[in-house]
């Protein structure tokens, strides 16, 4: 049984030295974040797990370049995000929802329903790759638009408008789905 080391910096230095147990601890600590980015983006358990596996194997080869625990989290998010988007580019057969004709949301709506979580997750998976990743980073990882812009390497304004349009589309689709 592999056990994690409590101190992330110590774990990092041990993993760099080739300690398999320390590396397993790092993986265990961040696996939910990396896997969930893949799961919400790809909606395929095997693909998400394989993406997460590849991200951690890539990390192992680049452990020497990681400077801190914070840098590690940022590095993992960035690599996972870009791998997902690259994978989506390769799967061009999937039809995305068209965001161009969606207006930005103007009004709030009440009525929280936890049963809609599954439906919402499916609707998020139907968004085009970049807005989909923006929504995942905003609501799974709780990142600010500026952090999302940094991760996706796009302007802040693009992230803000992308998020607004994505939310508007999700809201209208959810309304249609719940009415039917």
């Amino acid at each position: 049984m592999l056990t994690a080391t409590a101190d992330p910096v110590l774990s990092l230095s041990q993993a760099v030295a080739g300690d398999q147990t320390a590396f397993a601890g790092i993986v265990r600590e961040h696996q939910a974040m990396v896997y969930s980015i893949g799961w919400h983006f790809l909606r395929d358990r095997a693909m998400a797990e394989e993406m997460a596996q590849d991200v951690f194997l890539h990390l192992y080869r680049n452990l020497g370049s990681i400077e801190s625990a914070r840098h590690l989290t940022h590095w993992l998010r960035k690599v996972a995000t870009h791998r997902c988007i690259d994978q989506a580019r390769r799967r061009k057969l999937v039809r995305w929802s068209d965001l161009e004709h969606v207006r930005e949301p103007v009004a709030a709506e009440s009525g929280r329903d936890p049963m809609l979580a599954g439906l919402l997750a499916r609707l998020v998976a139907g968004l085009p790759p970049k807005p989909r990743m923006m929504v995942i980073l905003r609501y799974q990882e709780d990142l600010e638009p500026a952090e999302i812009a940094d991760l996706l390497e796009i302007p802040l304004g693009t992230v803000k408008s992308g998020l607004h349009r994505a939310l508007a589309l999700l809201r209208s689709k959810m309304e249609k789905e719940t009415v039917q």
């Binding site: 590396f23 993986v27 969930s36 596996q53 194997l57 997750a121 799974q140």
Partner: protein, 111 residues
């Protein structure tokens, strides 16, 4: 908008990969285990196509074997029937030969 965003946060909650994920990945990283490749759609389709081809080839072979077996059985039956008919003809010929010989003996005794 907050209610909707709360629903989104709920829908986007983090999930854990399968059990033993960290141990497997650490073993792969240190070379103790080979990386697993299961999710490639091309690989999935290739596997499905290979399985379908294998099933088709096996099916054709089985069909041919069955057809061959059936043909062999039919040939044996035909040979058996022919053999029985020939035996019957042979017996009939023996009877006729006996009658003819009897007639010839009778005629010789009359002379």
């Amino acid at each position: 908008m907050n209610e909707f965003e709360d629903q989104l946060r709920e829908a986007m909650h983090r999930r854990e990969p399968g059990p033993g994920f960290a141990g497997r990945v650490a073993a792969m990283a240190t070379g103790a285990r080979k990386p697993v490749r299961r999710s490639n759609p091309v690989w999935r389709w290739a596997m499905a196509a290979a399985a379908a081809c294998l099933m088709m080839v096996t099916g054709v072979q089985e069909y041919r074997r069955h057809q061959g077996e059936q043909a062999r059985r039919q040939l044996l039956l035909a040979l058996q029937i022919t053999s029985e008919k020939l035996s019957l003809v042979d017996r009939q010929l023996e009877k006729v030969e006996g009658i003819v010989q009897g007639i010839m003996v009778d005629e010789r005794t009359k002379q």
